[in-house]
């Protein structure tokens, strides 16, 4: 009898769902939720559990060797911030992130503009320029480690042979050159990402805008500043946010090439977190506190990103023509001649 009633039930009429009704509604649709449950469980295990664990760790005193754990409030945060290396880590992170992001965008835009033109072997050049992005992080880092090598490095070698310099440059062993050198590697690795995004953006700009600008008398530069740049702005913004997030989180290149050295001159936030946790005497609680800080810092960018995307989809609304009065409209459109 029960099954009969269920199968014969009429389809739900659409109705307004108040907040009190949400759970009832969810219960009514419990079958639907079963479909997304496996995904929710996996996400819970790999994302939410570690996140909660890190936040918990950041406000407790723990010893990696076991022993009692006690709640210490924000003490771990204080200690992490008061660390003698904290200022240089922050400084390095800001330089690393901002310079990498700007250079990757500029280089990516230049490459995109060149590749948007109908040049010969365009497909080939696109593929070649995209190679750095698809090479594995560790592989790329090791290749550059050899390129930068003080004794066997190809750059120093060539410059010495050509007589431009008389002794090899210590790229990653020098306190002043190490961060710029790493930024070069990072930009090389990630500019193709900006390039592809901007190329897609460039190709979406209507040709007629350029034609209109040509007829209006805009030269090459004005067409770039008055058509290309404003039209690309949404893509540039999205690409910048994604690059900033990626750069703050960039671990591999720095870690493989220098491990943050020499003398903390290439230590950035993420490598610093890792060092606190796993290098020397482990300080999981300090690492956790630092991890929570960077998590919330990046959340700000993530929020911008999401808001930007929703704003863009909202602005695609259509404006209707209100009948603008004036002339009387005679006859239907596909009108007949003759």
């Amino acid at each position: 009898m029960a099954t009969a009633t269920r199968t014969l039930r009429k389809p739900d009429a659409p109705r307004a769902v108040g907040s009190a009704n949400v759970f009832k509604e969810m219960w009514n649709r419990r079958g639907d939720y079963m479909y997304v449950l496996p995904a929710l469980i996996v996400m819970g295990i790999v994302i939410f559990y570690p996140l909660i664990q890190v936040i918990w760790l950041s406000v407790h005193f723990t010893s990696p060797y076991g022993g009692p754990q006690r709640f210490v409030g924000l003490d771990n945060y204080k200690e992490a911030v008061q660390d003698e290396h904290f200022p240089i880590v922050i400084k390095n992170t800001i330089i690393w992130t901002s310079v990498s992001t700007v250079l990757a965008l500029v280089l990516g835009l230049a490459a995109a503009i060149l590749l948007a033109r109908p040049i010969r072997f365009r497909g080939f050049f696109r593929s070649v320029l995209f190679i750095p992005y698809v090479i594995g992080q560790v592989t790329a880092a090791f290749v550059w480690k050899w390129i930068f090598h003080a004794d066997f490095g190809v750059i120093s070698g060539l410059l010495v042979q050509m007589g431009i310099i008389d002794k090899p440059i210590k790229f990653i062993d020098s306190t002043s050159l190490v961060l710029p050198s790493l930024i070069v590697v990072n930009v090389w690795k990630e500019f193709p990402f900006a390039m592809i995004m901007l190329l897609a953006g460039l190709q979406a700009i209507p040709e007629q805008l350029y034609n209109a600008a040509k007829i209006d008398g805009a030269g090459r530069w004005r067409r770039f500043t008055d058509v290309t740049v404003p039209q690309l702005m949404p893509v540039i913004t999205v690409a910048s946010i994604l690059l900033i997030i990626a750069n703050v989180n960039a671990f591999t290149i720095v870690w493989v090439l220098t491990g943050g050295g020499p003398a903390y001159r290439s230590q950035i936030f993420i490598t610093h977190v890792y060092s606190q946790a796993f290098v020397g005497s482990p300080h999981f609680e300090l690492a956790s506190a630092l991890g929570v800080m960077v998590f919330f810092a990046l959340m700000i960018f993530a929020v911008f990103y999401v808001r930007l995307l929703t704003r863009q989809s909202r602005s695609n609304r259509v404006i209707q023509d209100e009948g603008e009065g004036g002339l009387m409209v005679i006859g239907s459109e596909p009108g007949n001649i003759g």
Binding site: P206, G217, G338
Partner: protein, 399 residues
Amino acid sequence: MAEVVLTDVVKTYGTVIAVDNVSLTVEDGEFVTLVGPSGCGKTTTLNLIAGLLDITSGTIAIGGRVINDLDPKDRDIAMVFQNYALYPHKSVYENLAFPLKMRGEKKDEIERKVRAAADSLGIKELLDRRPRELSGGQQQRVALGRAVVRNPQVFLMDEPLSNLDAKLRVQTRAEIKRLHRDLNATVVYVTHDQLEAMTMSDRVAVMGGGTVHQYGTPLEVFDTPADLFVASFIGSPAMNILRGTLQQDGAASVRVGSSRWPLPQRLSTAAKAMNAGPDVAYGVRHRDLSVSRTEMPDSVHGIVYAVEPTGDITFVHARVGSDAIVASVEPDVDLAPDEDVWLAPNLDRIHIFDGVTGLAIRDKITSPGQAPRASFASEAMAFEDLPVAPEVPSVTGRE
């Protein structure tokens, strides 16, 4: 303002010929439309005039000055695009001011001109808005304003109405026509819509396959199409075209399947003089076919296939042998599908075309343009009673 002269203009892309030896003169202050189906080269021709494309050979002159190698900005033209091509990040004011700014005009001068143009187009309340905050019709006006504000020698318009809805299109059509008059401007207008071409233009260039098939006033291309292409392109519904063979024995006619379509002697003679035929195409517009339930002299039997009332005219689709024919009758005429009808073409308004070249076969004396149209011959009114004398001026009101 100035005249635009195209001389033997050719544009090729590799081996593809987009514009093939087009020669065209647009008089000072004239409104000329390039009309044709997609891919006929009309937009390419317009872009050549604009300087957005490089010309392969030939010359284009504006106001007596050859402009082949000039940049678009130095040609003293303005263009209105199909998608308006307004700068989305600029306000309406900035959009209008942009061409003047590029010309290096003074700020207060720019302001004066922009306000004047906005005033004349009724968009002055919109000056602070962005294009995406405007309706299609308003964007269209801004696009026109951006052209008007420069006071160019020549306006080029590339399908400016095709993105508007039907009602607004009719209204804007009239406004552009009025604008042309008020500005006394030279306009080259591109459209695939023959109704736009016919209603707006002083002269129409019917293009197909990269060439101009006919260049004349709207009535010329309608009434005396130069070839089959023009005949079948201009007019809606399209002219009935029947492929058949010329019969010179006895009364002249064109044999299509088992039916004989009557032909005036003058056209038969003209065909002979031109050495055309025997393969010909017989053309007659729906208005020039009288429809009757009873057999009439010089009529062809058909069976009604469908009846389409439009309100002010009713289209009758009929089958004659294997051909589909469209005729028209007054709206009060009551015909039903599968009824037998007799179709009698108005002998003064028949067109025939050479079956091979497609060129019109025409006698020089009578132009079909001067002949009146036939109307429905109801059962009460015998066909013989209809006024068919070629000298009688038309009373149908269309001319």
